[in-house]
């Protein structure tokens, strides 16, 4: 197989146009609007980058959900990273855009210019090499991400134990998708109740289900009569996912469906899941930026691995930090507002000077709107 086979047919203009037509035809038979929440920032990015909103009929809308691991990271935890990185003899490793998000002291980039050794890795396992090359330093892995990256962090810990490396520590911020989805539709909180009925269906991220299976979404059609379609990240995948949702409404058949049959099954990757459960346990509460504390929505290291856990080893600040008062990231993550409704969008808040976290990562809704525009 050639590399291009991996993506080319999923961006084929003819297929995209044909799907747009089909969606329009089917949606015109519905006499209602459908608001689809794409849970994952990867989908937000695809939708904006490929201009898919422009292809959809008026009665199909997207609500941009909370599935961007960088965007939902509360400031106090970014501060943890900042503080840890500036400790003596520490190399702090993390993934992607995490380096750019400002906490209350600044971003990891700022820490770096103050002398911290902050490195960004493509894969958690890259940390092993760094640790071996720097035996006299503590290498702290600041772990972020959903079910997709959690097994990789588990694999890193497994290697650290097997290789008996003494200088690798962790700061775990892995979060889980179903809990936040449930929170979004099930919360009894008055404020949150007000948008309760806006989400009609979910587009679930394929990579999460590669690991966790599609079964994690079964409660949504069953308990809340919201369809879930697990879709891939290419434009053809997203369009096909939308079509499947529209058809579910037409047939009045609400269920979990898999668009991304290329590698998603009902049960997911059992071995990867076992890895997660071997090293991690659920936190009682985890604060999501903009959404507040959500029960059982994140992982932490099990007690027997405490010696690797920087939250146990170091004294790190616990107080919650409020977001900038003009920032409406929380409302955006909940689907109550669009980025352009924020007063400071594109003026005081831009990707190079983000006020809120949705502007930081290219998967954040604000950054995607700023970057790609919402052109017609």
């Amino acid at each position: 197989m050639e590399l291009k086979d991996l993506y080319e047919k999923f961006r084929d203009p003819k297929t995209i146009k044909a799907l747009a037509k089909e969606i329009e035809k089917e949606a015109s038979k519905l006499n209602r609007d459908i608001n689809i929440m794409e849970v994952c920032g990867g989908h937000t990015h695809t939708i904006m980058k490929y201009g898919l909103l422009q292809l959809l009929p008026k009665n199909i809308n997207f609500i941009h959900g909370p599935g961007c691991p960088v965007c939902i990271m509360p400031k106090e935890r970014i501060d943890h990273a900042y503080i840890l990185s500036l400790k003596e003899n520490v190399i702090l490793c993390t993934l992607g855009d995490m380096i750019k998000v400002p906490g209350s002291y600044g971003s990891l980039q700022n820490a770096r210019s103050r002398g911290a050794d902050v490195r960004f890795v493509y894969s958690p396992l890259d940390v092993l090499k760094i640790a071996k090359e720097n035996p006299n330093k503590k290498v702290i892995f600041f772990a972020i991400g959903f079910e997709t990256t959690t097994p990789m962090t588990a694999a890193l810990l497994q290697n650290v134990i097997n290789l008996n490396l003494k200088n690798v520590l962790f700061h775990i911020n892995h979060v889980t998708v179903p809990e936040v989805m449930r929170e979004l539709i099930d919360s009894r909180d008055e404020h949150i109740d007000s948008y309760n009925n806006q989400i009609d269906a979910f587009l679930g991220p394929s990579h999460v289900s590669v690991i966790a299976g599609s079964k994690i979404y079964e409660e949504f059609p069953q308990k809340y009569s919201r369809p879930v379609v697990v879709a891939g990240f290419e434009p053809v995948d997203v369009m096909e996912g939308v079509l499947m949702i529209v058809r579910q409404f037409l047939k009045e058949e609400i269920k979990v469906e898999i668009q991304y049959k290329r590698s998603v099954t009902r049960d997911g990757n059992k071995r990867a899941w076992e890895m997660i459960e071997r090293y991690f346990k659920k936190r009682d509460l985890f604060k999501w930026r903009g959404l507040g504390n959500i029960p059982k929505s994140a992982w932490q290291l099990k007690d027997e691995f405490e010696r690797f856990d920087t939250e146990k080893i170091y004294e790190l600040p616990k107080e919650e930090i409020e977001d900038h008062k003009l920032c409406i990231c929380g409302d955006i993550l909940r689907g109550m507002a669009k980025p352009t409704e924020c007063q400071v969008f594109g003026s005081a808040c831009t990707p190079s000077k983000p006020l809120g976290s949705c502007m930081v990562s290219s998967e954040g809704a604000c950054a995607a709107y700023y970057k790609y525009g919402n052109l017609i």
């Binding site: 590399l3 291009k4 146009k17 422009q54 980039q109 434009p235 990707p351 190079s352 700023y370 790609y372």
Partner: protein, 330 residues
Amino acid sequence: MQKVITLSMGNGGLENRELLKKFVFRHLGNSFLKDAEDGTVLGEIENLVFTTDSFTINPIFFKGGDIGKLSVAGACNDLAMMGSEPKFLSLSFIIEEGFSLRDFERILRSMKKELSVNGAVVVTGDTKVVPKGACDKIYINVSAIGNRLANFSQKNIKEGDKVLLSGDIARHGATIFASREGIELENEIESDCRSLWPIVKALIDEKIFVKALRDATRGGVAAVLNEWAKDENLCFEIEEAKVNISLEVKGICEILGFEPFVLANEGTFVCVVDRKDEKRTLEILKSFNENASIIGEVTKEYMGRVILKTEWKTRRFLDMPSGEILPRIC
């Protein structure tokens, strides 16, 4: 044993003279250098243009070029983009102690070749050797003087003008990334590193009404178009499908999650011409690189912004690149 550059070769004394004579002068020598004292007398140039650039690329040898070729081509391209014929270069090396003499010679050889493509000569220079660890292998600074033959200016860009690319994009950035990340592909990609003066000269000779030229180095095509759009308060509307990108580059971007529009080029330029000249310009560009293409036009729809049109008729902004894309790419 492999011969290496030692600290004493940068001491200004005997070993230093040896290094210059045996290596630098042997490859790059000319009458100017021969007669040089503390400075060089150049004679007169009518429309003098002056530029400087430093090169710290890692790795120093890459597919399609090396730091020597890159530095000569890079400095000369800065002149060429101004419509200036490259004439005289100064050359400063900062070399890490222990650097292989054979590699040094290899670099000098490719500089020589690139100088002849541009018809330029090195007229003055300097070599410093620093202790191990004080620099990474070799850094090169090149300053260049050219003679301006045509007055391109982005100020002349107006609505209706056509935008062209001199070749496929993102090769240099993708090549450097691939080599640093150790990505191996079936079909190797090569940097587009090349001197652009011969192409520019052809445009001038054919009397094309060129409004502006810019080689799309750091920040890639996205940076060039956005700068023009913002500076001149115009809108650039680009058809994505017209921008050629090789399959290998697409693959690397796929693996590493980059947008080809922001990756660096080292021998590919964006060019705005009067619409009456678009066809002839394309012919000329294609005679140098068959991947040249007309990619869009200048409008006034969203002032200061660049718009990309997809093949399925949706549109989006192409934004100015920001953040650390990649250090030490040139």
